[in-house]
Symmetry: C2
Subunit: 199 residues, 2 copies
């Protein structure tokens, strides 16, 4: 199975890469740098170039997304737009363009996070983008052609990352990033669509 992995170089992307490789996937990595293909997923033209270069694939797994983390009172309109571009419109574009490049049963796996349902301080743009992507995936799932599928992995904070967030996730049980990687496998190798896998 040929899997194109965007955001391959981050904490999550590396864990997804390792697990997919263990499972025998031919993984083609994409990221802003240090990957098989260089891509900026906020730029539709860069996404097009990536898909042209990667060729037909069985699965697109995305582990990339960026939003600003700021107190609500300090957010600018530009912050809101940047978060929507960085984590919502970018992931929509991966599916919108990717449908033409994937196989007939290709799957798309997108990334959100716990803040869709459990908000935290400074996370209002994260919640905004995550909520967008989860609802979008449910909708795109009923319109994708052939038997293409789309799911979302929505993890809580990772054991590997929690120190970087200080007390923002106080009281949250962190999970090893490997559990999120497992959810990617469930999405890619399973046959469900329109699902949000809570990790």
């Amino acid at each position: 199975m040929k899997t194109l992995l965007t955001g391959a170089t981050g904490t999550l992307g590396r864990a997804v890469h390792a697990l997919l490789a263990e499972r025998g996937h031919e993984v083609v990595t994409a990221a802003r740098k240090n990957a098989d293909i260089t891509v900026d997923i906020t730029d539709p033209e860069s996404i097009r170039a990536m898909y042209e270069k990667a060729g037909r694939f069985d699965a697109l797994a995305n582990a990339a997304g960026w939003v600003p983390w700021k107190p609500f009172a300090e957010l600018s309109h530009a912050d809101v737009l940047a978060g929507l571009a960085g984590k919502a419109a970018s992931q929509v574009e991966l599916v919108r363009q990717g449908s033409a490049y994937g196989t007939d049963e290709a799957s798309f796996t997108l990334i959100t996070g716990v803040t869709t349902r459990d908000p935290i301080l400074t996370g209002s743009v994260a919640s905004l983008a995550n909520g967008a992507v989860e609802a979008f995936a449910r909708a795109a799932a009923i319109e994708l052609p052939h038997r293409q599928r789309v799911n979302v992995v929505s993890p809580t904070v990772f054991t590997e990352s929690i120190e970087a967030y200080g007390d923002l996730f106080a009281g949250f049980e962190p999970v090893p990033v490997r559990l999120a990687a497992l959810a990617y496998v469930r999405s890619i190798e399973g046959h469900q669509t329109g699902q949000v896998y809570l990790v």
Copy 2:
């Protein structure tokens, strides 16, 4: 109670206006035309001018939002951005700027729709924007200053509008728009925050 009602001239806005007036609110209407204040909620500068003109308010009720309805395969990247601007970033901006103009206990009531949870054909951008706003409201609710509040009204298709949608909502039970207006009252006159009122 002084309530600023944006999107006052549509099917929903008129019903909200009528019910709030019945309940003794001082309603200040805002819309693209035919309202007390002219506003384009996709333009942050127009929102600023509206708030300056309206003066301090106890409640902001928004009944405006626009997204493109198109088959997924026909969506352009511009459609996606237009929908996010028309129904998501616009409503975020009403709260973001409005917090400084509302009273200490001001409420914000936003609008989404059933497509967050129940997708329909041609509705993927509607789902995207609605999911964004619902998750945003949960997040902004824990950061708004003083005792300001934010809730969302998420109605299914209205009895008054269902003919315009043809078979898109086949099998959905339509509701009278007055039930959605009631949910605005529940949000404005109640004391909850971060809620999504399903209608």
